[in-house]
């Protein structure tokens, strides 16, 4: 297969992926730093490079509402948003997943107001972690592009039929120019395949009622069915990731490890910071510190067993959260990692950190310090702290 090596920002890569997927409908509303995705895509629409009907709605609430209408009508449907936009969609995100519509969305991670801020953190995506959407994080532009190309296959799989959001870190990935290997349109389209919905409201010969009032007698069963779909999603994500590897040469799983096999100290991170951590690990290994990384690619469904299996061998673990959940305990990632370890019966010293809120930079040196703290914790010189802030001004 002839791959094209290009230089692209995360937003450009997302828009290119959408062009190749060529959805039937997109409904979207602008918000920094995601705006570009739809701007670029609008160009594809108006130049006739895609068949998509682009519905330029008057809010993100309407964007997700129109996506629900479109997906219920059996059209392959996509959108993109960020931060306040995702928060405005909140109510309808649960409806999209609840009535089982395989919508695919690019979300560019950005801090939530207040105070208003346009830069990266994961608070927008994390606020929707219970919305019933599959959530896939990206370390870089290539991963964002690759995950976007897998998203429809996952969402539309008959055992899943659940919406998917693929996220990139605002500005860091969305606006950072990186090397991107693109695959030929025809190969992508072959991989993504044709969408054949089981039921649609446009099938006027077989009328269905969608969005019924489900009361005490069936609501629980309805939710259990969704729960089972989320379980199945784990298997399907792995299958699709494997097939993607066979087709395009890069395989994807739920998590990725970097030098974790023999590591004494493992750091858990998501998104672009995983890349920074890899650089820190290289330097620490030179110093003789056996540092390793566990990157969570898929946050929903949460790969608890897989994470516990990796962390069980560590002497100490640090979990980095680019989000505050104001629980006074830890950020959302650390909380879930700890729950997973408990269920697996793994008792390992664990420190949790909050970093990078509102786009605050995180440097290699910051991450090296975390590993040094882990070393001290393992040696009994330091007690593990929870929700410790990194990079705070004195």
């Amino acid at each position: 297969m002839e791959k094209t090596i290009t230089a692209r920002t995360g937003n450009e890569a997302m828009a290119e992926a959408m062009r190749q997927i060529n959805p039937d409908v997109c409904a979207a509303y602008p918000i920094t730093p995601a705006t570009e995705i739809m701007q670029i895509f609008a160009g594809f629409v108006n130049d006739g490079r895609v068949k998509t009907n682009l519905i330029t709605v008057e809010s993100e609430h309407s964007a997700m509402s129109a996506c629900v209408g479109s997906a219920a009508a059996g059209a392959r449907t996509m959108t993109a948003t960020s931060s306040q936009g995702l928060a405005l969609m909140h109510e309808i995100l649960f409806i999209a997943s609840g009535i089982r519509l395989p919508i695919v969305m690019a979300d560019v991670n950005r801090a939530l107001s207040a105070p208003i801020n346009i830069h990266c953190d994961h608070s927008d995506t994390m606020a929707e972690r219970d919305s019933g959407w599959i959530q896939i994080f990206s370390e870089n532009t290539q991963e964002a592009y690759d995950s976007m190309l897998q998203a429809n296959r996952i969402a539309e799989h008959k055992d899943v039929i659940t919406p998917v959001m693929v996220t990139t870190d605002g500005f860091i990935i969305s606006h950072g120019m990186e090397r991107l290997e693109m695959y030929p349109d025809a190969e992508v389209q072959k991989f993504v395949g044709e969408y054949k919905p089981q039921y649609t409201v446009l099938d006027v010969d077989h009328p269905i009622t969608v969005g019924s009032l489900v009361l005490t007698d069936y609501y629980l069963e309805y939710k259990k069915a969704q729960h089972e779909a989320m379980k199945a999603a784990k298997r399907v994500i792995l299958e699709v990731g494997k097939e993607f590897g066979k087709t395009f040469g890069r395989e994807y799983g739920l998590i990725e490890t970097y030098k974790a096999d023999d590591a004494d100290f493992i750091l858990v991170a998501m998104g672009s910071t995983a890349g920074t951590a890899k650089a820190a690990i290289e330097e620490l290994r030179q110093e003789g510190i056996k540092a390793g990384l566990l990157k969570i690619r898929v946050f929903r469904p949460f790969p608890a067993e897989e994470i516990a299996a990796v962390l069980t061998k560590a002497k100490a673990v640090a979990v980095l959260d680019r989000c505050e959940s104001m629980s006074n305990q830890a950020g959302p990632v650390a909380t879930e990692v700890k729950a997973g370890l408990y269920d697996a019966g793994v008792k390992v010293p664990l420190a949790s950190y909050i970093y990078g809120l509102g786009g605050r930079e995180i440097y290699i040196e910051d991450i090296k310090n975390v590993y040094r703290e882990l070393k001290n914790i393992a040696e009994g010189k330091l007690k593990p702290e929870q929700a410790k802030y990194i990079g705070l001004k004195e």
Partner: protein, 308 residues
Amino acid sequence: MSSPKQAAAVENKLTGGHRACAGCGFPIAIKEVLSSCKDPIVVVSATGCLEVTTTIYPYSAWKVPFLHNAFENAGATCSGVEGAYQSLKKQGKITKNIKFVAFGGDGGTYDIGLQSLSGAMERGHDMLYVCNNNEAYMNTGVQRSSATPRGANTTTSPAGKVINGKQQNPKDLTEIMAAHNIPYVAQTTVGMWPDATKKFEKAFSITGAKFVNIYAPCIPGWGYDNSQTIKISKLVVDTCMWPIYEVENGKYKINYKPSVKLPITEFYKTQTRFKALLKDEAAIASIQAYYDAKWARLQLMEEATNKA
């Protein structure tokens, strides 16, 4: 369908056995809409009495495709369905001609769903939006909406010792929709079947965004005997509080001008929600003046927009 008799002869696309109150206005509105559409139709609905009473799982009263999303987004949801249809039709994946209608209550349309409706109309989707106006949030127990008439007793604008019912006149949504310059905007009432169905038939024959505001009385919310729905929904027209008119490509047409214009109190007397208001003569006089001015203005609009 010009008469209820004719409509009854064809297949009922909204079956009986739904849970709306006996004598409720909106099932009539639905029948007027569905019997006026010759093509297959897809129905979108906002949350409210209409949706809640017709779709209690595992049952459905609908024999046409039906989609409920949320309370405030019937406009956007329907624009998504229609958008999908346009895309799939262009690709040759669908060959049938299908029509789209979105229903919203006055709460879901005048208030919380106004933005969503405005957006859908501005974008010109080929759809009809029908506001089922029963002048309050009935599904949640008769709270005031911006469609509730001044002086009406609701659970959030009660007839109290100091404040007597709702203090504001209703928002004129039909005029707001006319200001969108869409091809067809109309106001009708469930009790005037020929007028309503003629309007829906016309709406379905026009390509683009259409809006019809239909007056649909609510028995417990308004306080009257359930045999009086049709009578009350006609009486309001004779007071000129709810004129029956249409705006087609900017041209106003008043479809019914009462030979004797009744005072608003004739309408108020039929419902308990106005009981306390009826004792307040000053308020009545001021409200009467308000509706008189609105009626005069509407006639001027008809005159002005029909000048050659």
